[in-house]
């Protein structure tokens, strides 16, 4: 099966100027965990997921020495999260994304999910963002196909 048949039905996308709050509301209301950040002309800038928000909250020194996280006071997460009020999609977008083409195979997508630790891959055609394939949409589509084959 090709990627184009296992894409998410209603992919989430926002413009670079969208605020963090609005992005999170969008994510929390859906059952997805990654949003594509797309320019007005359809060009993909990158993606934003929980990973990228966590990046902004977890301090540098914990990266250098994870044991130190145990010493940070309770309430730190909430305080840091609150301080991200003015952050926009453009500020936290991850531009180092792996993308797939609609005509790539499922095994190609699966390899990227696994080896690059991705949860969602933007689907790009002709330089434009056309959709998203997620681990969930991949398994959903394949399971459906297998049940319909045997049924």
């Amino acid at each position: 099966m090709l990627v184009r048949y296992a894409m998410v039905e209603e992919p989430l996308q926002v413009s670079p100027k969208t605020g963090l709050r609005d992005m999170l509301d969008l994510l929390l209301q859906s059952n997805q965990d990654t949003v594509a950040v797309v320019e007005a002309d359809g060009r993909l800038v990158g993606v934003v997921g929980a990973h990228d928000v966590l990046r902004m909250i977890v301090p540098l020194y914990v990266d250098m020495d994870e044991a130190l996280a145990a010493l940070i006071h309770d309430g730190y997460f909430e305080e840091r999260f609150a301080s991200l009020k003015g952050v926009t999609a453009a500020d936290i977008v991850n531009t180092q994304v792996d993308t797939v083409a609609p005509n790539n195979t499922l095994i190609q997508a699966a390899t990227l999910f696994l080896t690059h630790h991705r949860h969602a891959l933007p689907v790009v055609e002709g330089g434009k963002h056309v959709g998203m394939i997620t681990r969930r949409s991949l398994f959903k589509r394949v399971s459906e196909k297998l049940s319909s084959n045997s049924g």
């Binding site: 301090p59 540098l60 020194y61 914990v62 250098m64 020495d65 044991a67 130190l68 145990a70 010493l71 940070i72 006071h73």
Partner: protein, 466 residues
């Protein structure tokens, strides 16, 4: 250019072609290293390959001689200490001590800064400066974050303190390791000659940082409480390994203090410690050895060969003659040489990496000693300890060590610890400009050199306390 008195130095009469070829490789290599256009290890290895490939040195000379080749004393001491420190630091003990001391300071920012400065200096005397800074920086950033104060002054103070502390012992800084090997000084020689002045410098340093930063650092009670409530016991991941590594480190230090009496080289002591710790640690050698800084080790190896090449062709002898002509050392006194060495080494060290500088200065001082005491008759690489430790020559070695180690504080590029701190500040979103670092580092460097200058003068020229 080589005068007859020095003919005994160059093993064979070297043709001008070979002389200039070697000199060219040397100058080009150092120029590229200073420019940082190419990684210094690559340069060192290419330079070494050329020295041997073009037959300026034979491979035997490069690999197996003390006069012209790799100084394995330095190499094995560095590798062995890296192994011990690697295992020891994995245990989390340094971070534990740092948090503990922040609590002893009751979370008061200036007290923490002073304690961390002293801790950095002490640690840096036993570990290398870069590791010390890398260990303490995350804890410093954490505490500054919790106290809601600017971490940058703390990081700068730690970089400066690590360079100062590293000057105190044979193992504290690579220039000292190299000087110890060529001048045949023991661990205890460094304790007798350098530790006292470093202690005085550190006292002055803490006073200076109090003046510079003391007033700016005040923090409210509720934030200080956060530090008091930290549970540092969670930082010790492997108490058994921690105890083993501390015991071995302790034994190794004791071994260092005794190595002169035992007639063993420091590298041997360190090797024994590393081997013992590897054995009892239960760690697979692969993981530990993978973290040895091979880039640094190969840089040293290449550098020794490049310098060996110019020693052999007589360039170093010629340079030492320039030093002799300029500073007039005699068998009775090397007064001017000592103080010129201190300040010149410091300025050079602030601008360029002190390792290539000291690698060149060591054979130069040996050659100078050979000329002054033996009319160039001996082999500079095989001088007796009586000559090497002659009362008149002695201050020159210590001034080289002090200048090369302390000079690193003069600029943000003068020492690796400084570079690390600047890089970290940038990553933390609070970049330190070149000028800002120098505004702190340069005056502090001058202060440390003035103290050193007075010390050298008083100790060797007034009190004659050799």
């Amino acid at each position: 250019m080589t005068d007859p008195a020095h003919a005994a130095e160059a093993l064979t009469a070297v043709s001008p072609t070979v002389y200039w070829l070697a000199t060219g490789i040397f100058v080009l290599a150092y120029a590229v290293i200073v420019s940082e256009k190419v990684h210094k290890t690559k340069v060192a290895l290419v330079g070494a390959a050329l020295m041997i490939g073009l037959k300026i040195l034979t491979q035997h000379e490069a690999f197996h001689t003390e006069a012209f080749g790799i100084d394995y004393n330095v190499i094995f001491l560095l590798i062995s200490m890296m192994i011990i420190i690697n295992i020891m630091t994995k245990s989390g003990v340094f971070e534990w001590v740092a948090i503990r001391s922040a609590k002893v300071a009751k979370g008061k920012p200036f007290t923490i800064m002073a304690i961390f400065a002293v801790f950095t200096a002490l640690a840096s005397a036993l570990l290398d400066n870069v590791t010390t800074v890398l260990l303490l920086a995350p804890v410093t950033l954490l505490i500054a974050d919790e106290l809601d104060i600017d971490p940058i002054p703390f990081l700068i103070v730690e970089a400066l303190a690590s360079n100062i502390g590293g000057t105190a012992t044979l193992i504290g800084d690579p220039p000292n390791i190299m000087i110890a090997s060529k001048a045949k000084y023991s661990f205890m020689d460094f304790i007798y000659h350098l530790t006292p002045v470093v202690v005085v410098i550190m006292i002055a340093f803490v006073v200076v940082i109090k003046i510079l930063f003391g007033r700016r650092l005040t923090v409210a009670e509720d934030k200080r409480k956060r530090v008091m409530e930290m549970d540092e016991s969670t930082l010790i991941k492997d108490p058994v390994l921690m105890k083993k590594s501390l015991v071995v480190m302790g034994l190794t230090i004791v071994g260092f203090t005794m190595h002169g009496a035992l007639h063993l080289e420091p590298a041997t002591i360190a090797l024994c410690g590393a081997a013992l710790l590897l054995l009892i640690s239960g760690e697979h050698p692969h993981h530990i050895l993978a973290e040895v800084e091979w880039t640094t080790i190969f840089f040293f190896m290449g550098l020794f060969i490049i310098v060996g090449g110019v020693v052999k062709v007589g360039l170093i002898t010629d340079l030492s003659q320039v030093v002799i002509d300029l500073t007039h050392p005699t068998q009775e006194s090397m007064f001017t040489t000592t103080f010129v060495m201190l300040w010149f080494s410091a300025i050079a060290s602030a601008i360029v990496d002190n390792i290539p500088f000291v690698a060149t200065m060591n054979p130069l001082v040996l050659d100078m000693a050979n000329t002054i005491f033996h009319d160039g008759g001996h082999s500079a690489a095989a001088l007796s300890e009586a000559t090497l430790h002659h009362d008149v020559l002695e201050p020159v070695w210590w001034s080289l060590a002090l200048g090369a180690c302390l000079g690193g504080n003069g600029s943000p590029i003068g020492a690796s610890a400084n570079v690390i701190v600047v890089g970290m500040a940038e990553k933390a979103g609070k970049p330190i400009s070149f000028v800002r670092f120098m505004a702190y580092g340069f005056p502090i460097m001058i202060m440390t050199l003035v103290i050193s200058h007075l010390y050298l003068y008083l100790r060797y020229y007034v009190l004659h306390w050799y």
